[in-house]
Subunit: 226 residues, 2 copies
């Protein structure tokens, strides 16, 4: 996954150094990219009237960049590009951790924060590739079927590139870490409840009743799902 | 859900007015609270060395406030309290929307942004109630079983209250909205792939093999799940 000559780590940097529970932190490029490739919704943090605010949007990673898209007047993208730098946060929820004590209850998760320079993609070719990758990242296999954007649709879509200049990951796995005296309270069940995204039955559009559900929908999976 | 005399709407305000796709926006208190009550992970946006950044954390709503918690030295909470105001974003992913055209692919989601004054909870009683609610919000039923915090554990936990002063929700539901000429391309399947969180088999801690899995774990559900 790491190209030859690339540093294996993406931090810690001034903006990504994890201070709390540093034993859960990593700057490993492969770990960061594995989280970015499993999820497809991020939260982009920008300043709105001087106040930081996070808004959700879809994304796709291509090499060492993240692509975002929206309408040309998308305010979050405008603010991000105006700032020159942006942070993008991706969080995967993996499960609930039930301890005997209220205090040691926890959540298993993997989260990544990326900081990097942000710019508007102006090349039609790069826009096309980014939009195809967005569809393909979210629904692997779909880009073979979906009609490609027209020039008018391309003009009606803003594509923004965030370079992955600096990144950190934070991960919690495993069961509860109760104090020994609480473990002795044997009446309290303790453990983990793993949570996973589960695709439900596809809902065909009313105008395509006779088209078979494609395999990439019927068997929808994300990278990293076992 | 709305107490007598409470305004039914939480906006639009200076910080929460939705500009893009305003037809998807709502400031309805009941809708906002239903999203806050179904999810339990939020992204808190703060300024880190002058750069906006969003970090995930658990939360629980109590009346017209959101409670967050962390270690006393938690940097995100410190920055939020230092700023006096904070925004909290909650996003629920509901499914993928597969259109014939790349352009009309979309995602069904419900997201909420809350802005409000933030303060450290100093009262032991309010801290206890907030921490019990956090456990009970994430695992309904659990607070009956879990050992309550000791005074030392309370001191080792920072609890922060965010008043829900202003909020907006943004919701997309339904199938794709392809152009008529694309609908005619009948070979392309189009529709929705709903996604839901699915609890997996509970994993008991190795030290409690003989304790039955509680009903609230075996039958784990979130408000809003049908």
């Amino acid at each position: 996954m790491t190209a030859p000559g690339q540093p294996a780590v993406l931090g810690p940097g001034k903006l990504t150094k994890v201070r709390r529970l540093a034993e859960r932190a990593s700057y490993d490029r492969e770990l960061v990219y594995s989280v970015l490739d499993e999820a497809f919704i991020c939260h982009v943090a920008t300043l709105l009237n001087g106040e930081p605010v996070a808004l959700p949007t879809a994304y796709a990673r291509v090499d060492d960049a993240i692509y975002l898209h929206g309408a040309p007047a998308n305010a979050t993208l405008e603010r991000a590009v105006g700032a020159g730098m942006v942070s993008v946060t991706v969080t995967l929820l993996d499960g609930l951790v039930l301890a005997r004590s209220t205090f040691h209850h926890s959540i298993n998760y993997r989260s990544v924060v990326v900081f990097g320079p942000v710019s508007v993609v102006t090349s039609s070719d790069e826009k096309r590739r980014a939009l195809e990758k967005l569809v393909e990242h979210i629904v692997p296999g779909r880009s073979r079927d979906a009609r490609a954007p027209t020039e008018a649709e391309l003009r009606a879509t803003a594509v923004v590139k965030v370079e992955i200049a600096e990144a950190s990951a934070k991960v919690r796995t495993g069961g509860p870490s109760d104090d020994a005296e609480d473990v002795a309270i044997s009446r309290i069940w303790a453990g983990q409840l793993p949570l996973k995204w589960a695709p439900q039955d596809p809902v065909p559009d009313e105008d395509c009743p006779d088209v078979a559900v494609p395999d990439y929908i019927a068997g929808y999976r994300r990278p990293g799902w076992d």
